[in-house]
Structure formats: structure tokens, C-alpha cells
Symmetry: C2
């Protein structure tokens, strides 16, 4: 199975430190079979979990959104994250907090290698595709991800880095694992909060725009208008990417120097380190 | 975790007989995290897997529908089902064939207690609710089931047995784990093939209607028309239920003697036994 090897020797299950090989669930578990689960994926940089409070807040609201009731408090989870980082002396990693609902909720924290991208991804930009489909509950980060999986697989078959999800009205809402932004006449367009997953990095991008004096218009980009050339610089944002410039959408090129995107990316990354 | 205890001491993983406690998957597996999986749930009655060929055919088409490539042939899976039944001398059970995709596909076969319902469910009928929502790829049986989970949980909170999924056009397409049928002027209405999961038992219901001289019209029931009293006998079908009469939909009663429904149910069950 497509299985990310864990770093370190441990994982957390319901607060207990376990061997990472024991971070498993029964295939007969209803919560696993139905994807009745929520999760967060975050970066550990210099031994610190970046934007942990924001991630825990979103985890709680995802659980509320799908009616996943569990006994774990944000303070507990925060302490367990610290336990895992300390026990395996983790300096850099992707941490995943994975919560399964049902009668006996199970919360796992696992550490896998941190996602980084070659520098030329940022200088040259990445290719993306468009894919028709709508997520079930856009604002919640849940196990209901088949659309995201299929859209990304389709993009990768075409040699692309990400797929942009286009809804029934022709609106580009978000990527399969990212939020989407596009410049038009000097303003930055992105879908409204209620239409997308409220990315932690999306928040930081909006904060960066404020600092850089870039006006943000919360209006989803129409795919036809994108292909009609109304937009001149595009990027996606995610925890692992910060802000990643887009070179092409399907067969249409958007090559530029990506100055605004890279300025936003540098600010977002600088805040990650500056948080302490 | 809400976890059905397995019967028997074994399960199958990729053809190998394993201890049922070993039927687990890593929480770091992408296929598990994304619900990139397909499955079938079938009955073992008198030591025989009922309609096994039909289930294996549907499993193959579910995999094709979501692009899940795997090396397992229907002949292999059929043999593994026989292995599990023999090794644990299973007479009666629910068998689940669970297939996870990705780079290293994993196929599990597990046996859990057979689902049966008290006789009064059939004589009195069951209460169901309506729930707005559309499944992602209706014809495929996949791990993308959060809508089904939430709709059923909502029904159960209201003391009901099942939820009927209503699409954006007000059409009742199917239940969360069942197909839906309704009589109107002596004809039986049900959603068209391409709109729903093609239930194995749905096929048997249609066959029973043919035998009983009941005309079937493949047209989804409009929820407004249902509540306007155009329909006089309703039921749902599933492997575990055969045909289960519906006593009420939300607050509207459909109490009757359910003669047609029970005649269909008896025929469907009789064929299960007569298959040999």
C-alpha cells in the first residue's frame, strides 16, 4: 500500500506513546470504513510545531462540522504533540493528527518526513490541471477524500503537480491539497471562506497581502475567465508549499517572474520561524 | 472505536490466512487516509457465499470506476472466500471484501456476525428519514462514505432505521445502505440504474417483480410527490434486508399490510437458498 514511512520510532495513540508500527486501525472499524474521521497535517521546524493552535482549532471545528464527538481536549493534544517531538527528538517533520470517531474515538499522532520542494518549483512555477467536482463539506478536513485523490492522480498522470477543483458553476474553488489565488488588475482573487477549506497557510497569505498592500477580493475565479486571459499571476497555498507559483493551467501558460507570489511566500515562511 | 467483532479466528490478507487481529492497516497509508478503496459486503448462508459472482463483478466495476488498479482476479478472490469459510467452518456470516488501492494494493476478507432483523421489522415496517445529499460516484462502492455515515447517524438520532438521500432536484435516489422502491397506481418506481448503486438485491427485487407481474418504472420518486400522497407502499432493499417495508418517511405514515413488499422479500430470500 502507498505508505509513507514514519520517522522516529514512536507515534501517539489516545495520549500513549506507542511504537510507530502499532499506529494501525482495524479494517472492520466503521469509522475507518466510512471515513468518519478528521485530521490535521502540520510542519515541525526546528523542533517546533508550526501554527499548532490554529491547526487544533480547525480540528475542533472539523469535528463539530461532521458531528464527530470525542473526549480529547486541545490542551491534551498539544501536550501529546510535544511528547512525540521530545521522545524522538524530532527537529523537522510533517506531523499528522488523525482522529477517528464512533463509539471509541481513536486519536493518532504520527511523524513523517517533512515535505519540501526543489527550488526550481518556486522559480519556474508548477503545472496544474482542472478537475470537475465538489467536496462534500468544504470547510471540514475529513476522511472523505476520494475526489481529491482521483483529481490529483489525474493531474499526476498528466505530469502536473496539482489539480484545481471546478464546481458546477465553473468556479475554481481550491486545489486538492491547497487553496487557489489569482491576480487580476493588481488585485488578488480567491474563493470566499464558506466555499473552501480554511487553510492555515491561506490565512497567512491573506496576512501577507495586508502587509504588502495587496487588495484581496473574495470572489472565486471563473474557469472561463481564467482561460480568457483575465488573470496574470496564479499560485496555490498549503502548509508544505507556503505560496507556490503556477506555470500553467491545463494547456494555458501563465509563466512570469512570480514576484508577488514569491514575496508572499517569503513573508509566510519568515513568520513560521519568527513565531517564537 | 465502533468496531464489529469478527467471528472465527481468521481473516484473509492478499490471499494469506491471517489471525483476525492482524486485519489492520497503517494510519499513515494514503489509500486509507483518502478512502481510495472499494468493498463488497455479502451473506454466507449455510456455508455458502450468496451471489458471490455478482458481488465480485461489482467489485471489479467499482475499481474500474475510480481507477483502482490491483492484481487480484475474481477467481483468486472466490478461492480466498472459500478458504476463509472452510478454515473457520463458517455457516452464517457477513463477509466483507475490502480492497485498498495505491502502490501496494491490500485486499482483506473478514467475517462478522450476519445481520438479521426482528420479524416485526417486516410486519410493522421501519421508519426512515430524508436527508439532502449526493454521493460522489453513485455506481461505485467505495470508501467515500461520510455522507452515508452522517445521514444514517441523523436518522438513528431520530429513532429511525434508514435515511433516504434526496438530490438537489428533490429526487429520492437511494438509502445510505439500501435501494428505494415505491408503489404508485400498482406500478413500482425506483431510480434509474445510472443514478444509484446497483444493488445485488435490487437486481433480485426487479427479478421478483417480473415473476409477480409487477410493472417497474425506472423513474426516481420526487420527495414532494411522496409527501403529497401519490405513493401507497414503500420499501428499501439490501443484502441484509432483502425487501424491508417502510412504515414512515419523516412524519408521514405509510402503514399498510405490505403484501407486495413481503411477497417480493419472500421470493428474493427463497432464491438465495435455491441458488445451488
Amino acid at each position: 500500500m502507498n505508505h509513507t514511512p514514519m520517522i522516529g520510532r514512536h507515534a501517539i495513540r489516545n495520549g500513549a506513546l506507542i511504537a510507530s508500527s502499532e499506529a494501525t486501525v482495524a479494517v472492520t472499524s466503521r469509522a475507518v470504513q466510512y471515513g468518519f474521521s478528521t485530521y490535521e497535517s502540520l510542519r515541525v521546524v526546528e523542533g517546533r510545531a508550526v501554527h499548532l493552535d490554529d491547526h487544533l482549532e480547525r480540528l475542533a471545528s472539523s469535528c463539530e462540522g461532521i458531528g464527530l464527538v470525542h473526549p480529547f481536549t486541545s490542551d491534551q493534544i498539544r501536550a501529546w504533540v510535544a511528547d512525540l517531538i521530545a521522545s524522538d527528538s524530532i527537529v523537522e517533520a510533517t506531523l499528522r493528527v488523525q482522529l477517528y470517531g464512533g463509539e471509541e474515538p481513536l486519536l493518532f499522532i504520527t511523524a513523517t518526513p517533512i515535505l519540501t520542494y526543489p527550488p526550481f518549483f518556486y522559480t519556474d512555477g508548477v503545472g496544474v490541471t482542472t478537475y470537475r467536482g465538489e467536496r462534500l463539506i468544504p470547510s471540514c478536513k475529513t476522511g472523505n477524500l476520494l475526489l481529491n485523490y482521483m483529481a490529483l492522480a489525474d493531474a499526476q498522470r498528466q505530469g502536473c503537480f496539482e489539480a484545481l477543483l471546478v464546481d458546477r458553476h465553473g468556479q475554481i474553488l481550491e486545489g486538492t491539497r491547497s487553496n487557489f489565488f489569482a491576480f487580476r488588475d493588481g488585485s488578488l482573487y480567491t474563493a470566499a471562506d464558506e466555499q473552501v477549506l480554511l487553510g492555515i497557510t491561506r490565512e497567512q497569505v491573506l496576512r501577507a497581502c495586508h502587509h504588502l498592500g495587496i487588495e484581496v477580493i473574495f470572489e472565486a475565479v471563473q474557469v472561463e475567465e481564467l482561460f480568457s486571459g483575465y488573470y496574470d499571476e496564479l499560485f496555490i497555498s498549503a502548509t508544505s508549499m507556503a505560496a507556490m507559483p503556477i506555470r500553467s493551467v491545463d494547456s494555458m501558460s501563465f509563466i512570469s517572474t512570480y514576484e508577488r507570489t514569491l514575496a508572499i511566500k517569503d513573508l509566510v515562511r519568515s513568520w513560521e520561524m519568527g513565531e517564537r
